[in-house]
Subunit: 361 residues, 4 copies
Amino acid sequence: MMSFGIGRSFRMTVFGESHGRCVGAVVEGCPAGIELGAGDIQRELDRRRPGRAAASTRAERDIVVVESGVTDGRTNGGPIMAIIRNEDTDSSWYAKNRGVPRPSHADYTAHVKYGGFSDWRGGGFFSGRITAGMVMGGAVAKKLLSRSGVRAVAHLVQAGAVKAGDVPDDGLDAMAAESPIWCADRRASEMMLKAIEEVRADGDSIGGIVECRIFGLPVGIGDPIFDSVESVLSHAVFSIPAVKGVEFGGGFPMSAMRGSEANDEFAIDGGRVVTRTNNSGGILGGITNGMPVVLRVAFKPTPSIGKEQRSVDLSRMEETTIRVGGRHDPCVAVRAVPVVEAVVSVGVADMLMSAHKIESI
Amino acid sequence: MMSFGIGRSFRMTVFGESHGRCVGAVVEGCPAGIELGAGDIQRELDRRRPGRAAASTRAERDIVVVESGVTDGRTNGGPIMAIIRNEDTDSSWYAKNRGVPRPSHADYTAHVKYGGFSDWRGGGFFSGRITAGMVMGGAVAKKLLSRSGVRAVAHLVQAGAVKAGDVPDDGLDAMAAESPIWCADRRASEMMLKAIEEVRADGDSIGGIVECRIFGLPVGIGDPIFDSVESVLSHAVFSIPAVKGVEFGGGFPMSAMRGSEANDEFAIDGGRVVTRTNNSGGILGGITNGMPVVLRVAFKPTPSIGKEQRSVDLSRMEETTIRVGGRHDPCVAVRAVPVVEAVVSVGVADMLMSAHKIESI
Amino acid sequence: MMSFGIGRSFRMTVFGESHGRCVGAVVEGCPAGIELGAGDIQRELDRRRPGRAAASTRAERDIVVVESGVTDGRTNGGPIMAIIRNEDTDSSWYAKNRGVPRPSHADYTAHVKYGGFSDWRGGGFFSGRITAGMVMGGAVAKKLLSRSGVRAVAHLVQAGAVKAGDVPDDGLDAMAAESPIWCADRRASEMMLKAIEEVRADGDSIGGIVECRIFGLPVGIGDPIFDSVESVLSHAVFSIPAVKGVEFGGGFPMSAMRGSEANDEFAIDGGRVVTRTNNSGGILGGITNGMPVVLRVAFKPTPSIGKEQRSVDLSRMEETTIRVGGRHDPCVAVRAVPVVEAVVSVGVADMLMSAHKIESI
Amino acid sequence: MMSFGIGRSFRMTVFGESHGRCVGAVVEGCPAGIELGAGDIQRELDRRRPGRAAASTRAERDIVVVESGVTDGRTNGGPIMAIIRNEDTDSSWYAKNRGVPRPSHADYTAHVKYGGFSDWRGGGFFSGRITAGMVMGGAVAKKLLSRSGVRAVAHLVQAGAVKAGDVPDDGLDAMAAESPIWCADRRASEMMLKAIEEVRADGDSIGGIVECRIFGLPVGIGDPIFDSVESVLSHAVFSIPAVKGVEFGGGFPMSAMRGSEANDEFAIDGGRVVTRTNNSGGILGGITNGMPVVLRVAFKPTPSIGKEQRSVDLSRMEETTIRVGGRHDPCVAVRAVPVVEAVVSVGVADMLMSAHKIESI
C-alpha cells in the first residue's frame, strides 16, 4: 500500500525526489475563498532553505509555482498544487556508491521494499528534500489556521547536549526567529551553534529536540478513540525523516511523577475554564482543553557523516566500508523546525476541518 | 468526525462504555481460515483483568462471546465481532459528582465536545475499560501474526522512579509473565510493587513506561512517507488512555548523541544483512530493517487519586473541590502492558496485510 | 482488504451471518444528543421483515437491542451498536448441498475468495439477511436526517414486466405504505402482486425496480470530483445484494435525448433558484441543486428458484444439477424497498456530515 | 470534505482547471519496477484529444510531462506526477456571462458550494478537461494491468437513438479503434456520425451509452459488503461528468426477467468453472467470477448547446436567458470512451492491488 498523502478532511499529498525534476505537494480540502499567493508558500520555503547557519551547502533557490487551486488570488475549492524545481543536483557520488547502503539511512530498506527499483540518487523520496513538499502543504494550512487565530510555533530546545532554558509563550515566535537555528533562548542558541560547528569540523553530527506549541485552539478538537490529537499529530510528525520520539505536555518525565503532582487542576479565569498547570499539554482524553497544545519531537543525529563507516555491498553480499559524500546538515533538527511547524499545521487544519470548526466555505 | 476504528487493511472498531451494557470490538480484514476460538481472546482479556497485583478492585469476569466471523472454528472472511458484558458497575459516585470534571480526566473535554451529552458514568468510552475492546481486537491480530512468526512482547520498564535493568530478547515474554506487573527484571519488579503499594496507601498514583519489542518482522514493512512504521504504531499507541510519549529505538536520548555513536553500521550475519547496533529500533526510513522493532510508551500517573483536588462546577461556573471515588489502579501503566501489546499487534497486522506479507487467504 | 463498513463522516459497519448467532451494525459519527431508542430501529426492521406479502416464510422476530452509544435516551457521541439474534435457522439443506454453488449466488465466488472457508450456511454474510444490519444503520441515519428535514422515500416502480405509473412527490410515502409491496400506484400494486404470486406458484422469480426520492436536501451537498452524490449513493446502493443498475434523474433514457429536451432550465420560485424540469435528478456537477434527488435501482430476479438448474460439484470438478431449497422471496426487490431507503439515508447522512450541514454538536 | 483522489491501494488524485495553468494527476501505489515512459501516457491522452470526429474545436496539444515517480525508465515506488499545460484558453465568454449559470452545468451548484469563489472560467475543475487527469492516471493503471493480462476495453454502443448491434469480445478493441467514434459496429458507427453531425448543425446535442468490458480478471476480486466490484466501479465511473446511469451485465432489463431466464448456470470448461451465460456481468456477490466484467454507462446529452435557454442572473436574482458560447462536443459520450476505460482501469488496479493479486514488489 502507499501513503504519500495525509489527512481526512484537509489532505496533503507530496511528490518528487531529491535528484529528480521537482518536489511538490497537492492540498485538498482547503475551503474556497482563502487569499493565497505563491508568496505565502515562498515565505515558508525560505525558512527551511539551506543557507541559514548550520545547514548543508546545496544551493537551491526553491522558487515555488502554484499550478492549480487558486483563481483571482483566492482558493477556488479545488486541489492546490504547488511545485519547486530541483536545480543543484549532483548524483555522481551516489552512482559510484550504489549498492552500498549508508548506515542509518533508508537506502537498504528502500532497496528491499522496492525490489531494487528505488531511486538511488540522493535518497530519492526518502531525502530530507521531500520535506519541502511538507512545508508547501503546511503553508496553506497556516494560512487557513490564521483565519481562526490558530498558530503553531516550533523552536529548537536541544541540540546535542545543549538544552535551552524555559521560554514564555509570549513572543516565542519572534525570539525563535532571531536565532539562526530557531532557538528562542539566546544564550543556548549561541552554545548550540558552537556545538554544531564543532561536530561539523569533526565530520560528525548531533541530534536535537524541537518543541512545538499550538495557540488558539478551541476546546473539543480531536476524535477519540483512534484519532486523538496525540494520534493525529504524532502520525504526522513521525513522517519527518530522523524523528525518533514524540511526547506531549509533561511527556516521558511524567512517568516518574505522582498523580498529585502531575494532575492539572481546573480553575475559572475570565469566565473560562482553564487548568492551573499544563502537564496535559492542552489535551485531555485525546481532545483539546483550550490550553496551548505542547509537543516535543526528538531528532536523531544526521546519519550522513564524513567518517568512514562499516556497511555491506548488497550485490556481492560482502562487508565493506563507506564514507558518505554529498552535502549535509550537521544537525538535522535545525532545518526541521519549520517542517515540524508545517506538518503540525496540516494535522491541526485537518482536525479543525473534521470538527467543523473551520467552515468549509 | 468519528474514529472508533483503526487500520486500513486490518481494521479494529471498538464500542461500549464503562458503565453501559458491554464493551466489544469488530475486526475486519482478518483472512479466512485462521483457527480462532473464544479461548484465544479470553486468554488475552484475562491478562488485562483487574485482580492482578496493583489493580483496581472492580470485579468483572469479562467472559467473551464471539458473535460473528467464525464458522466451524475458523475465520470465515467476515467481520469478527466479540463482546463482554459489564456486570460490576456502580454509577452512584458519578451521579453525585456530575458536572464537576475530575482533573486530568476527559470529563471536561468530553462534556464540551459532545454538547453535554457524553456518557458521564465512569468516563463513558473514555474509561480504561474501552481498552478491553482493544485487547479483543489485539487477540485476533496476535493469532494472525503467530502464523507468520511475528510476536509483540510488552513489559514494564519503569514505574514511578524505579527503572528496570536491561533484559535480553530471549525469554523476555516468560520473564515478564512471571512478574505480577509484567516487569522482566525481577529485582526491579519487587521495587516497583513496593512503590505502587506506597502510593496506593497514600491515596496517590504514579506513572510508568512500557516497552514493546516486535520480533520476526520481515524487511520492507511500513509505508512511506506518511504511513511509516513509527506513524502507524504511534497513532495506535497514543489511542490508549494516559499515554504521553512514544519513542523508537534510541528515542529521546539519541538527541544528545553524535552520528558516529548513534548510527547502526551494517554487517552480514548468516547470509543476512543485519545492523551491529539497533539504535534505529528496527526501522529505517519508516520501513522495517529486519532487526527487532523497539518502542517505549510513557504513561502518566493515574489521574484518579484519593486526595482532594481543585476543580470547577460546570453548571454554575464556580470553582470547587473534588475527591475522586470509584476503584482505580494506582499505576495505570501496569494493566496497560497487554493493551500496548494488543494495539501494537493490530498495527503490525495492518502493515503486514497492507504489504501483502500475509496472504489475504 | 476488507470492507464491511461504509462512510467517512457517518460510518456504518455491519456484521453477522445468515445462520450464525446474530446480525448487527455499528454506527460511528452520529452527533451526540440525538434522541434514539430501540423503537426507532425496531420500526425500520419491522418494515423489512418477512411476513408481508410476497416474502419468504422464514420466521424471525428480529427484536433489536441497542448495546452501546446511547445514554439517558440520547446518543452520547460514541459508536452505536445494535444487534438482532438469529432464531429460525435451518442449515440442513446447505449441509447436504455444500460444494455445489447455486447459480447466480455468491457461493462460488465466496468459496474461491475465502479459500474454502466462507460460511456455507445460508450464504453467510452474502445472504439478504445482512441487509437487516443496513436497516439498523439506516434507522439511525433517518433519525438524524429528520432533524434537518431530510427524508429518503423508496417505492417499487416495477416488478417483472409490470410498471407503476407516475406518482407525485406529495404523499408518496403514505401511498407506498398502503401497498403490501411498497408500490405507490394502487392499480400497479395489484398487478404486481398477481405477477409475483404467479412466479411463486411456478417455482420461479422476477426482478424489479425501486425508486428512491430524497427530499429536503440543501444546495451544495456532494464532494467532487470523486465523491459526487452519484458516486457516494451508487457505491452504497450497489452494496445491496441483487442490484444490477443505478440511474439518476433521467437516467439511461437520457442517452437518447437531445440537450434541448434534457437540459433543466433555471427559474426563480419564491426567491429561490429552481429548475423547471428535473432530468438532472437533483444533482449538477455531482452536487445537490436543491431539487429532489431521484434514483432508480434495478434488482435482478431472486436467484433462488425451485426449478432444477445446472451447476458444478466443486470438490469433484464435475457438472451436476441442483434444486435450491430454503425459503425465499420470489421478488427480492419488494423487501429491498426499506433497504434502499436505509443505505441511501446512510449515504446522505455521511454527505451532510461531511459538508458540515449537520452539526457534530 | 474534499475528494480529488480515488482508490485505497492504488490511488489517483487529479488537479487543475479548464482555464488554469494545467491539468494533471498524482498516482500512488503503483508497484516499483514497472516500465513507464511519457509515451505510455501520451498514447492515452491522444485518444481523448479533440480533433477526432465529433469533437470540440479547442486545440490543445496536451503534451504530457512525467515529473516524478520514475527512475531510469521504471517506476520507483513513489508518487507518479504527470501534467499537461493548458494553452488554448479563452475565458472571454465566461467573463461576460459570469453569474448566469448554464442549464444542466455545475455553474450554479459550484457557485453555492464554494461560496462564490469557484473558478468561473470554462467550468473550472468541473470541466470535461479534468478528465485528461483521469486518463493520465488510467494510463498508469493500464500499464500495470497489462502485466497481469487484464484489459478494459470501452466502446460506444449508443448515440442518441442509434444503437450498435452485438459485437463479440474477440477483436473488440481493434474494431472500436477503427471507428472515429469508438463504435465497434461499423454500420452503426456511420449512422451515429450522421446523427451527431445533424445535432451539431442544429446547435443541439445528444447523449450516448458507453460499454466497457474487462477481460482477464481472476476469480475473487472485490471486497464485500461495501466495496463490491459494482460499488467500486460505479463510484469511479459516476465521477465522469455527464454520467447518469451505470449497469452491470443484464442491467436494468434484468428487472423484467424471470430467475429461470436470468440465472447463469455453471459449467466446467477446460478444467475451469465458467457460467453458460453472463447476465451477472462477471460478478457474483460483488466478487469477480472469472467471466468478463461488463458494464454500461449512460451519458446525458452535452448540456452546452447553441440554442437560447432560460436561466437566472444570480447577482440580481432575476430570470434571464443565455446562449452558451465556447467550443463543445455535440455528443460527450464519444470522447468519454477512453475516459471510461481509464477510470475503470484505475478501479480495477485498485481492487487487484487490494486483493494482493498484483505484487507490490
